[in-house]
Amino acid sequence: MSVIQVKNISKSFGDTKAVSDVSFEVPEGCIFGLLGPNGAGKTTSIRIINHILIADNGSVTVNGERVSSNTQHMIGYMPEERGLYKKMKVGEQLIYLAQLKGLSYNEAKKSIKYWLDRFEAADWYSKKVGELSKGMSQKIQFIATIAHDPDIYIFDEPFSGLDPINSEMLKNIVIELRERGKTVLFSTHRMEQVEQMCDEICLFNKGKAVLKGNLREIKNSFGKNTINLEFQGDHTFLDKLENVRINNRSTNFAEIRVLNGQNMQDILKTAIEHAEIYKFERIEPSLTEIFISTVGEDNINPNELA
């Protein structure tokens, strides 16, 4: 069953179409990745799911219910642009935010105590947020997102601006949430995070959903059309290869996507002639490669993909 159903939504701001005719479904209990370069319409879609923006066309249902103030309470949302009241105390602030999500004062207080203990932050309860370090307030932000114990979690670019420790912690939280049967949707423009965590993905480009489905199946469907090559020696021979696209290149490494059914053995021969080969491996394409071949090389700004 899908907990979030997005059907043919469109949204324009003046003359710019932020999202056009996007549909996707998020199955229950999975980690769902929305990916695509900046400005592809991920945040707009997420805001529509959160009922912060209203779609011009199309419909969104959460747990089978059309989005409304009511469905907002079913979701824990951490926006890309996030923050807290600096002059408010940690405890009061978290209770306030949880109350806005429909918890009673006592429920909110109990849940917040639990999470503060869990993050070894119980003694921050009466501290003002402005006195906390950046890493500490990031933890408070997580608690604010999850304290009302919703079934669905939406994180917009959750890893941007996080320090490595919190980044790791968030990853663990997300995986733990899935183990408890919760559904997590997050957006990112960093492909390697998706590869590590997501079950399902939806690829955005220029306001459209260009590719969606199970990550494994998508990768399988592209076949092992990519070569991982490790070598020692002159790397300029790579420039002479035809009908290939080299994605991840350094002085002794290259990820080579073979195009137009060119024979991979020919590439190996050329490589042996110019350099000492340490490793030659046929693999499934990376998500970055999948993204590029889906939207076409000319349609993306490669700088926006990490």
Partner: protein, 431 residues
């Protein structure tokens, strides 16, 4: 709309602010500031009346100068023995402020006396000298005309004006117009300052949520209109709390200060009081109590305060949502400040002439009404239909500004990074 949510927002706005040092300090300092301000005004007036001007008189009639001497002995000095040239140099060296040459022609009114001065005394000195001379010359002429003492008394009699005010009930009361004018102006000024002060607070509060980037977290739980209403209500409650504190402490102070001042005065002049009126039981306590302020006036004050606050705070909130930082508010503040400044100036006209066309019109225009109308109501009997019309127009205007503000606010709070232009605002409103 969910009132539960509005109430939560209201509570947060109210509680976090009422506990803040800024609120406590402002509540204490603003009345002290006002008192100090008035004190400085009075002080300047007192200090200002101190300088004594010296005017040299060359009196060839020998009859005007003695009269002048009676009127103001310090001001007029006899320089009849000095030549006019040396008087000129005395004026130029600022030893004296001016001189007047008087002869028979002045008494016969063939020629107006000439006051030669360095200009030091300004207009007020000129008019003082003029009235002194008028009185002195009139006295001399009356003496010479040999009129009877009776007629002289008539000329010397001073007319005072006592004022009594006829109320609706047909009773004549002690006229408090002077006192009520002050009350009206103070009420108008309080509304003016509160609308600006608390409006500014709303703007900052909206900007704060944008720059803190908490707004999107909130917006994922609360509708923009709920957030906006909760915020306005919370800050409004804060404003009412502050004003209630002031009113209660003023009334408290007045009720304590009156009797204290009384007993003080009575103790000080027991003999006089006993001599003047042996049967009177001390001083009349009414002298030191504040004339009564009608409860209806206070109720109307609260109503006009709330309506004025609502109209303007909705606009101030819209400004906050449209900009990215406080420095960008200028261009939008101007059109909001303009009507309230106009109202402020009309209030001072209304103070002098509460029933003039300007004052009546100003008290009906919703953007000026909260300030102008309350001043008029305090000073004069404003027809009930005018008050009701004014209130209804303000409610209608509030519905309009609220609609406008909600439109701008719901788009504005999510647009980060740059301040909107007027063009964009119009686009948001049309959306």
């Amino acid at each position: 709309m969910n009132f539960q949510q509005i109430l939560l927002v209201l509570k947060r706005e109210y509680i976090t602010r009422i506990r803040s040092k800024a609120f406590i300090i402002a509540t204490i300092l603003i009345p002290l500031g006002l008192v100090a301000f008035m004190g400085i005004g009075v002080g300047i007036a007192v200090w200002d009346s101190q300088p004594v001007h010296t005017i040299g008189i060359i009196d060839q009639t020998n009859s005007i100068y003695p009269q002048l001497k009676k009127i103001a002995p310090d001001r007029y000095k006899d320089f009849s023995s000095v030549s006019e040239d040396s008087l000129r140099s005395l004026v130029l060296n600022e030893k004296i402020d001016g001189y007047i040459f008087l002869d028979e022609a002045n008494i016969n009114q063939q020629k107006a006396p000439e006051f030669v001065s360095s200009g030091a005394g300004g207009l007020s000195l000129q008019s003082t000298v003029q009235s002194d001379l008028r009185e002195a010359i009139r006295k001399v002429r009356l003496d010479r005309a040999d009129v009877s003492q009776n007629i002289q008394n008539i000329y010397e009699s001073k007319i005072e004006l006592k004022t009594r005010k006829l109320t609706k009930e047909g009773k004549e009361t002690e006229d408090d117009t002077g006192f009520l004018t002050i009350v009206g102006v103070v009420m108008g000024v309080i509304i003016f300052m509160s609308v600006l002060g608390y409006g500014g607070l709303i703007t900052r509060s909206v900007i704060e949520e944008k720059t803190n980037r908490i707004i999107e977290v909130i917006a994922s739980s609360v509708k923009p209109i709920e957030l906006l209403l909760g915020k306005m209500a919370g800050v409004g409650a804060l404003a009412l709390t502050q004003i209630a504190i002031w009113i209660v402490s003023i009334l408290g102070l007045a009720s304590v200060a009156g009797p204290i001042a009384n007993s003080f005065m009575v103790n000080k002049i027991p003999d006089q009081a006993a001599q003047a009126a042996p049967s009177a039981p001390g001083m009349n306590p009414a002298v030191f109590t504040i004339p009564k302020i009608e409860p209806s006036l206070i109720i109307l004050f609260v109503i006009f305060f709330i309506l004025g606050y609502l109209i303007y705070s909705s606009l101030f909130a819209a400004v906050g949502s449209a900009v990215d930082s406080e420095t960008d508010t200028q261009q939008f503040m101007f059109p909001i400040m303009l009507p309230i400044m106009i109202g402020y100036f009309i209030m001072f006209r209304a103070m002098a002439n509460p029933d003039s066309t300007l004052a009546v019109v100003g008290s009906l225009i919703p953007f000026c009404a909260p300030i102008v109308m309350i001043t008029r109501i305090a000073i004069t009997d404003v027809p009930i239909w005018e008050i009701l019309t004014s209130i209804l127009l303000m409610i209608g205007t509030f519905v309009g500004t609220m609609w406008l503000s909600a439109k701008i606010y719901s788009v504005g709070i999510l647009s980060y990074g740059k301040s909107a232009s007027f063009k964009e605002l119009i686009k948001w409103i049309k959306e």
